[in-house]
């Protein structure tokens, strides 16, 4: 009897191999369907089996993604997807860890984790499906909502300037920064593949419409345009590109050369000291 595990990566996969039997409860017309299709296409193109991949999320409409895939999934707590993903990647570096969520989960509740995940540069791919609203809780403004968006929860708008996620990621140290669009799943799949294959923290900001609370976002498909530059590898050039960005440029804004964080530093530490400290906490 052959006890050797199968060489999983020699199998070939199709998009539908990554789709679970659980039906998404997203609203018909939701941009997250396009992101899901793009991600599953990218994973099929990557050639890894579902058993080699983990999708970690927080809370929100888009954070339901782990339930909809045959890959391993971890539907975590609000804003803490990157913390869970970081821990997982450190103890299981053999797994491909993808972290996904929305703009509220990632930039508000999880804002601090976002900054430090970029700074640490763990080898993760972080996909934020940004619809500029808290859809699951019925339409409150999020950190990326325009200041003049008038709604029942913020009559006249919040008057607060929105976050610029790509600038934040670059400033905090992310090693790969891109923007995609839900309405072009094939192009987004290519961006996701690039992000997954790039070492370190890869941040992919996806314009993903909320058909229910932000129906005006349908106009995005008229506004998006493809980046017409060679991928910036220098920080200063990425800053210039982001400075000129109108928020609808689709493409890669930065692909840095910083090596991903590894256990090298931790391994060089005197682990017996850690054991000693842990023993001091024993009751």
């Amino acid at each position: 009897m052959d006890n050797q595990p199968p060489n999983l990566s020699t199998r070939s996969f199709k998009q539908k191999d990554f789709k679970s039997d659980i039906q998404p409860i997203w609203c018909p017309g939701c941009g997250d369907f396009g992101v899901q299709a793009a991600l599953f296409r990218a994973l099929a193109g990557l050639g890894k089996s579902p058993e080699e991949i983990v999708i970690v999320s927080g809370i929100g409409c888009s954070s339901r993604l782990p339930a909809y895939t045959t890959a391993y999934g971890f539907h975590g707590i609000h804003g803490r997807a990157l913390a869970v993903g970081t821990g997982l990647k450190l103890v299981r570096p053999d797994l491909l860890v993808i972290v996904a969520g929305g703009d509220g989960d990632g930039f508000s509740i999880g804002g601090n984790h976002f900054l430090h995940a970029c700074r640490r540069n763990i080898d993760l791919t972080y996909i934020v499906m940004d619809n500029e609203v808290y859809g699951m809780t019925k339409g409150q403004p999020s950190p990326t909502t325009a200041p003049d968006w008038n709604s029942m929860f913020a009559p006249g708008g919040t008057g607060i300037i929105p976050f610029k996620p790509l600038e934040l990621a670059l400033a905090a140290g992310a090693n790969f920064i891109a923007r995609g669009f839900y309405g072009d799943p094939n192009n987004l799949a290519q961006l996701l593949l690039q992000a997954i294959n790039h070492p370190g923290l890869s941040f992919v900001h996806v314009l993903s419409n909320c058909v229910t609370y932000r129906p005006e976002q349908r106009v995005w498909k008229e506004l998006v345009h493809t980046a017409n530059w060679a991928v910036p590898t220098e920080f200063a050039e990425a800053v210039r590109r982001l400075n000129d960005d109108d928020g609808f440029t689709i493409g890669v804004f930065f692909a840095g050369t910083r090596p991903a964080y590894s256990w090298t530093f931790a391994r060089s530490a005197d682990l017996s000291q850690l054991t000693k400290i842990e023993q001091e906490f024993l009751i």
Binding site: Q15, Q23, P28, G29, G34, K138
Partner: protein, 174 residues
């Protein structure tokens, strides 16, 4: 519809034509099935049934394409390597064309546009390919697609309601 046609000159020979034809039918069938499931979740059985019928029609068409493929070895092409002028394969309904308030009439109009794009595509191959066998097959596929166009048109004649129905429990107003 010609403004949304793919670069048909890339689809010159038989194997490339059949690879494109398979991609068109597979993606269309899978998407219709996915849309049917979305409508199941949102308790729109009429639309779910309609999308399932469309999926079944595309599946039948795929079987016919597969018969044409026979033992031919087709090129392996990743989804984003096809040269569509639409964001996805040209018979695939875009996710954002869907809405929970849509009516069967609206769904059929989308299906009609999908089928018409397919007819135009295969007719373009007939007009432009230098390969006589590819032209013959494309002509056959265009005729198949045109049958679908006629069927969808006949279904459309049965529906005279507006494209979107009123939501008596509008989520935005609560």
């Amino acid at each position: 519809m010609t403004e949304s046609l793919p670069k048909v000159l890339l689809v010159n020979g038989v194997t490339m034509l059949l690879a494109y034809a398979r991609a068109i039918e597979i993606e269309a069938a899978e998407r219709y099935l996915e849309l049917a499931e979305q409508m199941d979740v949102h308790n729109s059985p009429e639309l779910a049934n309609l999308f399932r019928k469309m999926a079944a029609a595309e599946q039948m068409h795929l079987s016919k394409v597969d018969n044409l493929v026979g033992t031919l070895k087709l090129p392996e092409i990743l989804p984003w390597q096809y040269k569509w002028d639409t964001p996805e394969a040209l018979e695939t309904t875009a996710y954002d064309a869907i809405h929970y308030q849509m009516t069967p009439r609206c769904a059929l109009q989308l299906a009609l546009a999908n089928e018409e794009r397919a007819v135009a595509f295969f007719n373009e191959v007939v007009a432009q390919s230098s390969d006589s066998e590819a032209r013959r097959i494309a002509s056959e596929l265009a005729a198949e697609e045109y049958l679908h166009v006629e069927i969808v048109r006949s279904w459309l004649d049965r529906f005279h309601e507006s494209d979107f129905k009123e939501d008596l429990d509008n989520p935005v107003s609560q």
